[in-house]
Every structure is written in C-alpha cells, then in structure tokens.
C-alpha cells in the first residue's frame, strides 16, 4: 500500500531513508521531493524560455522578421490590405518561353521551350499605394511561372542594378534612418549621414538613384534579380547567376520636366495603351558569375564583361488593377523555386522571404477582417 504523502510543510519525523531502501511506489522524502520539484520547474521554465527566445519574444538583440516589417510600417501611415513595400502596382499576365541556352544552364521546367503561363505584377517602390508614379525611383516586376506544382518559380526583380546594403540589419538601419520625424514630417537630418558613415557602400546606390535616367514606362524598364541564385543543369552542374528582364521596347528617358507634369498614375495608363497595341516582350538575360565574384552580396555588381546568355523570352499580354486581379493575393516570395534553381547564401534573399511572409500575413488578415476595402474594391476611373 502507498504511504500517504507528507505535507510539504511538515518536517520529516525520522531521518530520511537511503534512496534504494524505499518501498516500491513510496513517495520520496521531503528534500528529495523538493529537488525533484525544483528540477521539474527548471525544465518547464527553461523550455518556455527557450521557446520564447526562439520566437523572438525574449532576448531583444537580434533583428526579427516582424521587427523588420514593423520598421517599414513605422515610416508611413497604415494602408490595410496593401503590401508593406511596393504597395502600388498592377497585375499582369502572359507567357514565358525558354531557349536551349537556358536549358543548358538549368533543368527548370520554365526553360523546357514549351510556353509556361505567367502571372505577374508591375509596381513602384514605396509603402504608399496612393503615391504619384512620378515620385517613384524604383520600379519592380514580380513573376510567377507555372501552376501550383513543384515546377512553380516565383521571382521579384527591381530596376536598380544593385542594392544599397548587404545585410538585413543594414537594411533595417537604413529604414530607421529614413524615418520621418512626426513633428517635421522629414527624417532627422543627422540620421542618414550617420547611416552612411557606418555603411559607406550605400553611397553607390544613392549615386545611381541621383544620376541614372528614369524610364517613362514600365514596358521599357529592365528588371534585375539583384540577388544571385544557383542554376543547376540536368547533370547536376551548378553555376551562380544573376538575371535581368531586358525589354524589347526601346528605352525612353523621362526628363525632369515631363516628370513634373506626369499624371499620378501615368505608368498604368501607359501600360494599358501599349498593350492595346500588342504584347510586350522582355528577354531573360542570365549573367554567369566568374570564380571569385561576390555571390552573396547584392550590393556588389559584377563586371559587365561577364558572360551573358538569353535564357528565354517573357511576353505580357494583359494588365488589370491589382485590387481585383489575380496577383493581389500572391506572395511573390523569391525563394519559391523549382528543381534546377536554388538560392545563394545571400542573407538578403533569406530576409526577403521572411519579410514578405510577414507582409502577406498582415495584409491578408486585414482583408479577411474587412479592413482592406481600399485594397480590394474595384477602382474607379483607372
């Protein structure tokens, strides 16, 4: 029979028995029990603490994905239902057809030569979906090749040739440096110089932003992968690559005066007008890294003498407003990759996937809760 357990506050009436002399099933003496209870407490609290640390709730030093998106959100007003970055855009669709040269580099089905259906989105940089197009230095193209099977490939490209920063921590610091002071509506004038002092290579991006010509259309803009990826061919051979969608439409610069006069939504209107004349094409130009090229640093461009290969042609035939288009509820995560394409160790790539997931979850939740009317209602007079 079991002894009744001593109450926790009662001192032992007799010296504690030796551990192996206990009757099977007997409760332990008080000190042993205390130790056991303490051990259980340590295990439970320690596990909970480890869980909280892993989740980013404790041990505040490292940058987490929610913090990264939070920093971006804090730089402007809330726009429920919209993407947190590149908020303004339009849906597009068409096809992609690969070339033999593409097939030689990667066994991705997109390069099979058969036309692959494409769903995409053209957008401008910035977190405000109502920004006028003429304020946007950065234009972007996101694409999804193929349907919901293993061969699906999503990519998110930008019109800049390289990134200002090489790490998500630096991106976060830059975002904070650009934060408008609520009192003045402008960033703290000391913040950006301090950021540049700590990240001098970001000046190269600012130089590009100041001097490179603006195009006057989405259709004649090049869109770059910026991050490097690995292409894996049918024999398992791997090569580091970056790619660009190079437009067939001739580049035409938007000069300062035209930019001043441009309509708030001139890019979408221009796109629609061009598509009415016929499909728009881009060549997917793949640049191969040479040994020693920086493949994990998106802030370092490769020399333009690197071998380039046209791996396929993108054709866009249709555009529609994002509020009601198929691209609205797509997360163009650049790490949704088919066999034949793999990520490099570029830390920005991993951070993009993490950040886009946060943005997607937040905006889908807002729409589901009925707060995303501006993002989902059919637009008037677009």
């Amino acid at each position: 029979m079991h002894e009744s357990e001593p109450t926790p506050s009662a001192p032992p009436a007799a010296p504690p028995p030796a551990p192996d002399a206990e009757v099977a099933g007997a409760a332990r003496p008080a000190t042993g029990r205390l130790l056991a209870l303490a051990g259980i407490g340590v295990i439970a609290l320690g596990s909970a603490g480890a869980f909280a640390w892993t989740a980013g709730w404790l041990g505040g030093d490292r940058l987490t994905a929610p913090e990264l998106i939070g920093a971006i959100e804090a730089n402007g007003t809330a726009h429920p239902g919209f993407r947190r970055a590149h908020a303004k855009g339009v849906c597009v669709s068409g096809t992609f057809r690969g070339t033999g040269q593409g097939r030689a580099l990667s066994r991705a089905e997109a390069f099979s030569g058969m036309p692959v259906p494409v769903l995409g989105r053209l957008s401008i940089g910035g977190g405000n979906p109502h920004d006028p197009d003429n304020t946007a230095r950065v234009r972007s193209m996101a694409l999804q090749f193929g349907g919901p099977d293993a061969s699906q490939w999503r990519m998110a490209m930008n019109s800049f040739p390289f990134l200002a920063v090489a790490t998500p921590e630096a991106f976060h610091a830059q975002t904070v440096a650009q934060r408008p002071d609520p009192a003045t509506g402008k960033p703290d004038p000391a913040a950006m110089p301090a950021f540049l002092a700590a990240h001098p290579r970001a000046r190269a991006f600012q130089q590009w932003a100041k001097t490179a010509p603006w195009s006057d259309s989405w259709a004649n803009t090049s869109y770059n992968s910026v991050n490097a990826f690995r292409f894996i061919d049918a024999d398992g051979g791997e090569r580091f690559v970056r790619w660009s969608m190079r437009p067939h439409a001739a580049f035409h610069a938007l000069d300062a005066a035209e930019r001043e006069r441009a309509d708030a939504d001139f890019l979408a209107a221009d796109l629609q007008a061009r598509l009415e004349q016929g499909p728009l094409h881009w060549d997917m130009v793949v640049t191969l890294a040479a040994p020693g090229d920086p493949v994990d640093d998106p802030s370092r461009p490769w020399p333009d003498t690197r071998e380039q290969v046209v791996s396929g042609t993108l054709t866009l035939v249709h555009a529609e407003p994002q509020a009601t288009g198929e691209c609205r509820d797509v997360n163009f995560d650049p790490l949704i990759l088919p066999p034949g394409v793999a990520a490099s160790d570029d830390p920005i790539l991993a951070a993009r996937s993490a950040a886009y997931s946060q943005s997607f979850n937040r905006r889908q939740r807002e729409i589901a809760l009925g707060r995303g009317d501006a993002a989902t209602a059919p637009e008037h007079a677009q």
Partner: protein, 178 residues
Amino acid sequence: MTTPTHFNAAARWLHWSMALMIVSMLFIGVGMMASVSARPWLIDLHRPLGIAILMLAVLRLRNRLRSPTPALPSTLPQWQKTAAHASHWLLYGLMLSMPLIGWAMLSAGGFPVQISPSFVLPPILPQDVTLYAALRALHGWLAYLLFATVLMHVSAALLHAWVFRDGVFPAMTRGRDR
C-alpha cells in the same frame, strides 16, 4: 484480457520519436517565423516533418484504439485522471489537426505545398483570403496550445517519475516485466 501495466512497443516507439519530432516542429515553427536568416532551411524542414507526424499520428491512433492501455494508479485522485485523459486526447487532436491545418493554410494561400524539391502535395482548399487568414491564425494559436500542453504533459510525467514514483512513467519507457 487483463489491463496491461505498460504501453505496447509500437506505442512506446511512436511516443518517443514523435515527442522529439513535435517539440522540434514547435521550435522550428516559431523560429522560422521570427528569423531573417534561417527561414529557408527551417521551412523546408517544417513541411515534410509535419506530414511525417500526420502519418505517424494516424498509425498511433490506430494502435491506441486497438490495444488496451495501462490504467492510471487507483490512488490517483479522479480529477488528475480526468485531466490526464483529457490532455492526451487534446494531444492526439492537435497532432492530427496541426499538419492538416498547415496543409489547408498553404492551399488557401496559393502556395505550392512543397514536401521535397520535386514533390508537392495537391491543394486541399481553393485559394481564398479569408480561409488563409483564419487558418494562419489557427495554426499559430494551436501551436502555442500544443506547446503549453506538451509542457504540462512533461511536467506531470516527471512528477510521476521523480515524486510519485507510481509506475506511470515506466509504463511508457519499457515493456512489461517478464
């Protein structure tokens, strides 16, 4: 048939292997949502491990329903027995529903349900914003519930092992004495 004093071999093997898998999944899950650097390899682990847990959970439930399980000691107060049984059924419910919710969530989000680089599961729901948002929230909250339940389960198990020493813990660590 007399009530056994120990869980059968299948139950024990499934218990300990799945315990490892489920605790890993919980940490992988919160880790991949927080991390700016580790998400790619964590999420590539999370999906196949989730499906593996689902398949093992089905086998485990079948084994549980078909084989008698040891009774809790008669000296255990009724409220503790009720709490134990309820928590075990909660654990079964969660280990079966969490992978399904994850699969449904990805389907509703329009994501390929990628288990390996060349194998995807078919979507089990159409793409839908409201369904995605609901399942995303559910997957998270039930994960926290599962973690809390696991912590209580482990704490109670260690109480039985180190304090009550009433044969409950050995029922899951070894087979019946011969």
